[in-house]
């Protein structure tokens, strides 16, 4: 089985709100001292693929990213986690490409890289949180799509996909090729690569392409544009339960709870 996992490198979403700044004029986030990391749901997707390979007794996993040169680090980390091959399409444009542009580039790259039974993305990226690339990619590739998947089994030539819903879960049967978007769950918490494997990954081959190599022109954002970006100011003053003993503190806290619930 041939699996392709799309990885996006983003600004570390764990940056606390107090350290987060935006450039309102350019409508971009400022990196400041924050690290660049692989989006967590992409790592959940890769982890799901790695486990699938282990259980199915073999599969080839290719990781793909469209991004700045720094995105190479995300791909190297994926190789250290034991993906088999990696490809980077270099984003040489200005600003952030919109989801349709990203999907077009990824679709063209996927067609170039080979034939895949399973194309995986994260459910959404922790920066802009668009949650669109997987669905748009499926349309660009003319494939069906299942979202919010948290488990995959191979059965004969078919796939069994478990996906989360608002109220529980659904089990799908799918005939490859299919696109899935992956969400987090207790079983796909990404493994931590060994330091040695991280070092080794820098010696592995990595395919580099540009949109031009794929026959795509950089024609700007024709899907959507960020018109405004701002940081909302919202802080509440917290009334901390005081008192000399635990009992007094809990008493004060309980009084607040009663007040709120009685007023409902």
């Amino acid at each position: 089985m041939n699996i392709l996992v799309c990885l996006k490198q983003i600004l570390d979403p764990e940056v606390p709100a107090r350290d987060f700044r935006v450039d309102a004029a350019r409508r971009e986030a400022e990196q400041g001292s924050a690290n660049l990391v692989t989006n967590i749901f992409c790592e959940n997707a890769l982890e799901t693929a790695l486990q699938l390979r282990e259980r199915a007794g073999g599969a080839t996993i290719t990781v793909l990213s469209y991004g700045r040169p720094t995105a190479e680090d995300s791909l190297r980390k994926a190789l250290a986690m034991k993906a088999d091959a990696a490809a980077l399409v270099l984003d040489e444009g200005e600003g952030t490409p919109d989801p349709l542009n990203v999907a077009r580039v990824l679709a063209a790259a996927i067609k170039r890289l080979g034939a895949f039974d399973l194309v995986m993305t994260g459910r959404e990226a922790g920066d802009w949180g668009a949650g669109q690339t997987g669905g748009l990619l499926a349309e660009e590739l003319g494939l069906p799509c299942v979202s919010f998947v948290d488990g995959i089994e191979v059965e004969g030539g078919r796939l069994r996909l478990r996906r989360q819903t608002d109220t529980g879960w659904e089990l799908f049967e799918a005939t490859p090729p299919v696109v899935v978007t992956v969400t987090n769950d207790e079983h796909n918490v990404p493994r931590i690569p060994k330091v040695r494997d991280v070092m080794m990954s820098y010696r592995q081959p990595l395919t580099k392409l540009t949109p031009a190599d794929l026959g795509l022109a950089a024609d700007g954002n024709d899907y959507y544009e960020v018109a405004e970006l701002s940081i909302p100011q919202k802080e509440t003053r917290c009334d901390f339960a005081g008192g000399d003993t635990l009992d007094e503190k809990v008493e004060a806290f309980a009084r607040h709870v009663v007040e709120v619930t009685r007023g409902m």
Binding site: E14, D166, V178, V226, E228, L229, C238
Partner: protein
Amino acid sequence: MNDVLIILFAANGFDKGAQGLAGAGRRLAGESGGSLRAVVLGEGAETLAQEVARVADAVVVADQAELSEYQPETYLNALAQVCRESKPRAVLLGNDTYSQELTPRLAHRLGGSAAGDGVEVRVDGDALRVGRQVYGGKAHAVLELKKSPAVVWLRARSFAPAAPRETSGDVTRAALDIQADTRTRVVERRREAGGESRLEEARVIVSGGRGIGGPEGFETELRPLAELLGAQLAASRAACDAGWVPPTWQVGQTGKKVTPELYLAVAITGASQHMAGISEAKTIAAINTDPDAPIFKHSRFGIVEDYRKVVPLLREKLKRVLGAGF
């Protein structure tokens, strides 16, 4: 065409989300000078359609056998057909799983632009603008959707419902040519225990984080507290990822967006992605050992103590104050 089309699933009924969606649709239709239309899909669509007709100008029922239950490829085909026929300027959906899944693909099929998780939507000249949280709730962005139609899923519960009209809109049945697409097929559906009373509708929520330390804490401490308060239980992503509680309990950017009167966060840091799910909570309160935990910056009241000491005592006191009747 300046019409606005809302998409509803019969299985959810005319809940708070559907009502908010109709409200958002009505205001947008007013701004763009078009009418408000609705399409209702799935078994039982006829009943819901009659309710929706009280607030919409026209309702299309799509309940033929192939659409009796949700299958993504088949529903997508059906919706693309309905939209091509009625040529709306905007298509609005709610924030349920199916709406989120369908939105970008439907936009692509119609040659339009999509956005998700909208908290405001308005007409601006030729463009449609959608306000939403980005960067895990740390920033707010306004997106300008360039292609038409705009296909947008909204945090539907945050929008005021539409006022009923004097005369009900027309209800018609869609004549769709649907080929069942069997490349993917839902073969089993399960509801998690507790999924019946939906977290989104809860008035009081007791929520636990990684600091709870394991599934036992949820069972022996938080559950009895929730029962006492008539509250629903919820959790942070860290607690869900640890497998202590089901993923349906997750609140936040990628979990449920809740709107309770009281949200009691127990051993939860209050990361921006968690707060993104409770921005509409009326009162937030927190129990946390760390006085500098960001959750306190959003809380009306709080207590800096180990929850294992606080919760048993709190239950005792609440029992006494609230009486057996509560």
